[in-house]
């Protein structure tokens, strides 16, 4: 085997039993992009880990390291980092009355694993002892928005009025209000807030810009959406959620080649591999290998426990496997966990394809009551009432 220079990265084989090894043509060919700047972050992590090794019961060291792990894991959508964070927090993990900082991080790990009730309990305990913990309020609001409990999510955002800056409060509120009939006002408020916050923390900016992009897309303001997504990408911070959101936007716009180009080197991440496959499928390319790969990924995910993202699998099953009934099942399982517009969408799309108006029922009711605005959802909703 030709010896590859250190500058290149790992070759991953799709399937050990069947695929042939891929041998790059030149040394310079990029096979895969490593998630992080290995050297700089690695050094930082090494220093943090050293401190923890020396004093594993020192809460501050442990939470610093765990927080860093979670930041990386969130940016990379890599669930292993949640595991590393949990390992570091072991001395306090099972304590009901853990220190506030541990409680917040434990909630972060749990919500990442979709254990939303447990995460909310953790946050409530933290807030009972430390009502000025802004991170806890923000996380509480985000989780509550994901599971569709909007009044409490809104109230959590209001708690941030005195604890975080205007951009955070506006984005927090905007996320909720945009789902309950005030999407335009949310968009305008958030757009204004970002302009007034040039010194905002980059992580906050990226989060706010991503939200703006998604909001604009849901309002049908596609040029604006593009602008916001590009500005977010231009911050140079790796964020898989942003990449997914932008890819979904491009897919909806029919810009499949761009999706393929954007995500070409990102196939390590299941959700991004899925979007590449969706783009290639739309372009009429042969996706058999992608499909096999994804099937294996979802299967492997199930081996570890219930699928962590039945919504993605539902989309895969509907579009690439063309099995609408099974897609409905998966989408319903997903809907029982979480209730964001994308979760409503995949359920309605699957139900539409399977001609299963009953499956769509609960979603249609909730959307109507909340007043959620979304141009794609509106079309889907209309398609069901037209049939009646």
């Amino acid at each position: 085997m030709k010896h590859l220079p250190v500058g290149l990265v790992i070759v991953l084989l799709c399937d050990l039993a069947q695929a042939a090894a891929y041998i790059p043509m030149t040394d310079r060919e990029v096979l895969e992009r490593l998630p992080i700047s290995v050297h700089r972050v690695a050094r930082e992590l090494r220093d943090l880990r050293l401190r923890v090794q020396q004093e594993p019961k020192q809460v501050e060291y442990a939470t610093d390291l765990a927080r860093r792990y979670l930041e990386i894991g969130r940016a990379e959508a890599d669930p292993r980092y949640a595991g590393y964070a949990e390992a570091v927090l072991q001395p306090w993990w099972d304590l009901a009355e853990a220190p506030a900082e541990v409680g917040v991080l434990r909630a972060a790990v749990r919500q990442h694993r979709h254990e939303f009730s447990a995460a909310l309990k953790d946050l409530d305990r933290v807030l009972a002892k430390d009502p000025r913990n802004g991170q806890a309020w923000l996380m509480r609001s985000t989780i509550l928005t994901v599971i569709g409990r909007y009044p409490k999510a809104r109230q959590s955002c209001l708690a941030l009025l005195r604890l975080a800056d205007a951009l955070v409060v506006t984005a927090c509120l905007g996320a909720v209000e945009s789902l309950t009939g005030r999407a335009r006002a949310s968009y305008a408020a958030l757009d204004g807030a970002i302009q007034f916050a040039p010194e905002a923390d980059p992580a906050t900016r990226l989060w706010a810009l991503t939200l703006l992009g998604e909001l604009a897309a849901r309002l049908g303001e596609f040029a604006q959406a593009e602008r916001h997504f590009l500005e977010a990408m231009g911050l140079g911070r790796r964020d898989v959620y942003l990449l997914s959101a932008y890819a979904d936007f491009l897919l909806d716009q029919g810009r499949y080649t761009e999706v393929a180009r954007l995500l070409r080197a990102e196939t390590r991440v299941d959700g991004l591999l899925l979007r590449v496959a969706l783009a290639e499928h739309a372009l009429g390319l042969d996706t058999a290998e992608r499909v096999t790969n994804l099937k294996a990924r979802f299967e492997a995910g199930r081996v570890r426990g219930p699928s962590l993202h039945p919504g993605e699998e539902a989309r895969f099953t509907l579009v690439l496997l063309e099995e609408p009934r099974r897609a409905v099942q998966l989408a319903r399982a997903n809907w029982s966990l979480q209730r964001e517009p994308r979760d409503a969408r995949i359920l309605l799309e699957a139900a539409r394809a399977a001609n299963d108006a009953r499956a769509a029922g609960p979603v249609l009711k909730i959307l109507a009551r909340a007043g959620t605005e979304d141009v794609v959802l509106r079309r889907l909703v209309a398609s069901f009432s037209a049939v009646e």
Binding site: L34, V38, R74, Q111, Q135, W137, T142, I143, G181, Y241
Partner: protein, 496 residues
């Protein structure tokens, strides 16, 4: 036959991970939105500032500064105490030039850990009737104070026209945290001993009190209606003794207070009856950390926090410039004028409550927060400064506790905020309405649903938690029996 070519080309050994696995899902996309890590605001030294005429003795005004907020009463073994390195200042403008340097009342602390506690892991101890142990703490000095291991002495200095005057009439001690009934059998009696006379005819108290800032951080919205906005009905709005839908999540927390009572005649000499005030904390410019675990400050004081009107930093400035704002002088508020003229909070109010807001520029806010009555709110100049001060008209008659309205000036109670600020004024509701335009015309009854300080312990209280005598803040919760009034308890709304 395919050989096993799984040897990793690169081992990410710097991460301690070997990232070369085949066929197994390594990563997924985040299938739901997650909150980012936000910058936690640094703990502001000052949490609240009050200024009002003593309704029991209207010849005097009272200034209070609260620091170290949200104290969980049971936080042993050291509890909460003031910082020796900090200068706690009340800065007054008495000639309405917007520069609050005319009189400064400065409070400084000196902490001592008294034997035998310098050798013990606890700062306080006291049990009646156990030989070998100090008795319960019943005094701040003398044999009944034997259990007061960590004790803080303090001075009050008046600085006027460059001259300093010590106002203390003897040695003065801060009242310690309310640890619990065994260590401090009669906390109210002990804290009364912490009220000292000043040589200018005033009084002073420093020590722990109940956190009177009430805000609903756990409102129970009507979950059957996705869009219920927290607007109070007329009946709810007028009832200062019931929380219509909120839960005061600060119930059960304590704060450290510095309370000064000063004769008005000491402050107001001429005809200008409206004074301006801000409180500040300052620290030494240089802090040397010594090898033995202590530190020493040198190089003059640098202001690290200030507060005049409530909620300015959080709601009006509202951006990541809070550190910057905290270090500046109120007289230079012109540099932040844009935030007052076009407050971010207005957009948030519109988004959260759905009420229309007045179009900028908001000269009404500049007038209310940065100017004395009669000054021109359209400009900020050296002769006509925009100065962020809490302004108090010392000729407005005080309102007795039973007649006080939590909405102060907005409910016709001219002795309340924005004319000065009393501990039980509902500044959250007031500020929300003022930003929504209450000074320009009627606005809906915006509010957080918490109308009073529920569950305040101890004596001298009205039904809605107003502490009627100096230092005008309730007895703090004790560490042993502290009570957070949670949702579902009587007086609060049911949990949701």
């Amino acid at each position: 036959m395919l050989r096993n070519t799984l040897k990793p080309m690169i081992q990410a050994t710097a991460l301690g991970l070997v990232v070369a696995v085949a066929g197994i899902s390594l990563t997924q996309a985040a299938s739901h939105r997650e909150a980012p890590q936000i910058a936690q605001d640094p703990a502001a030294d000052i949490t609240d500032v009050y200024a009002f005429r003593n309704w029991g003795n209207p010849d005097n005004v009272v200034f209070i500064m609260n620091v170290i907020p949200a104290q969980e009463p049971s936080s042993g073994p050291n509890y909460f105490f003031f910082d020796d390195k900090v200068a706690y200042d009340f800065n007054l403008d008495v000639n309405q030039d917007g520069v609050a340097e005319d009189i400064i009342y400065r409070v400084r602390f000196t902490t001592r850990i008294r034997p035998p506690f310098d050798d013990l892991p606890v700062a306080y101890a006291g049990v009646d009737g156990v030989p070998g142990l100090p008795p319960g703490i019943r005094d701040l000095t003398g044999p009944d104070a034997a259990g007061l291991g960590l004790r803080q002495r303090y001075t009050v200095t008046e600085i006027r026209n460059g001259k300093s005057r010590d106002l203390g009439s003897g040695t003065m001690f801060a009242v310690p945290s309310n640890i619990g009934p065994r260590t401090i059998p009669d906390y109210e009696s002990l804290s009364a001993k912490g009220i000292y006379s000043l040589t200018n005819g005033g009084r002073v108290f420093t020590g722990q009190r109940d956190e009177t800032f009430y805000i609903d951080l756990g409102a129970t919205f009507d979950t059957l209606n996705f869009r219920r906005t927290p607007i109070l009905s007329a009946a709810e709005d007028q009832n200062d003794r019931r929380n219509p839908f909120g839960v005061d999540m600060f119930s059960g927390f304590n704060v450290n207070a510095i309370a000064l009572e000063i004769p008005i005649s000491e402050i107001v000499k001429g005809s200008k009856s409206v004074i301006g005030l801000y409180a500040s904390t300052s620290r030494p410019r240089v802090l040397q950390i010594l090898g033995n675990g202590t530190s020493v400050g040198t190089g003059g004081f640098v202001q690290v926090a200030r507060m005049g009107n409530p909620l300015i930093n959080e709601l009006v400035i509202g951006t990541g410039r809070k550190d910057n704002w905290n270090a500046t002088d109120p007289k230079n508020e012109a540099q932040f004028r844009g935030f007052y003229r076009n407050p971010r909070l207005a957009a948030v109010i519109n988004l959260a409550f759905g009420v229309p807001i007045p179009t900028p520029p908001r000269t009404d806010l500049v007038q209310a927060l940065l100017k004395y009555p009669g000054q021109d709110a359209t400009t900020c100049t050296r002769a006509n400064r925009c100065s962020e001060l809490l302004r108090l008209d010392v000729t407005a008659p005080p309102t007795q506790p039973a007649q006080q309205k939590r909405l102060g000036g907005l409910a016709g109670d001219a002795a309340g905020f924005p004319n000065g600020r009393r501990p039980n004024d509902d500044v959250t509701d007031i500020v929300l309405r003022v930003v929504a335009g209450a000074l320009l015309g009627p606005v809906p009854n915006l509010g957080d649903g918490v109308n009073f300080n529920i569950g305040a312990p101890g004596s001298n209280l009205t039904a809605n938690g107003i502490y009627q005598v100096f230092p005008f803040l309730p007895t703090p919760f004790d560490g042993r029996n502290r009570r957070h009034i949670d949702c579902g308890e009587s007086g609060a709304r049911p949990c949701n």
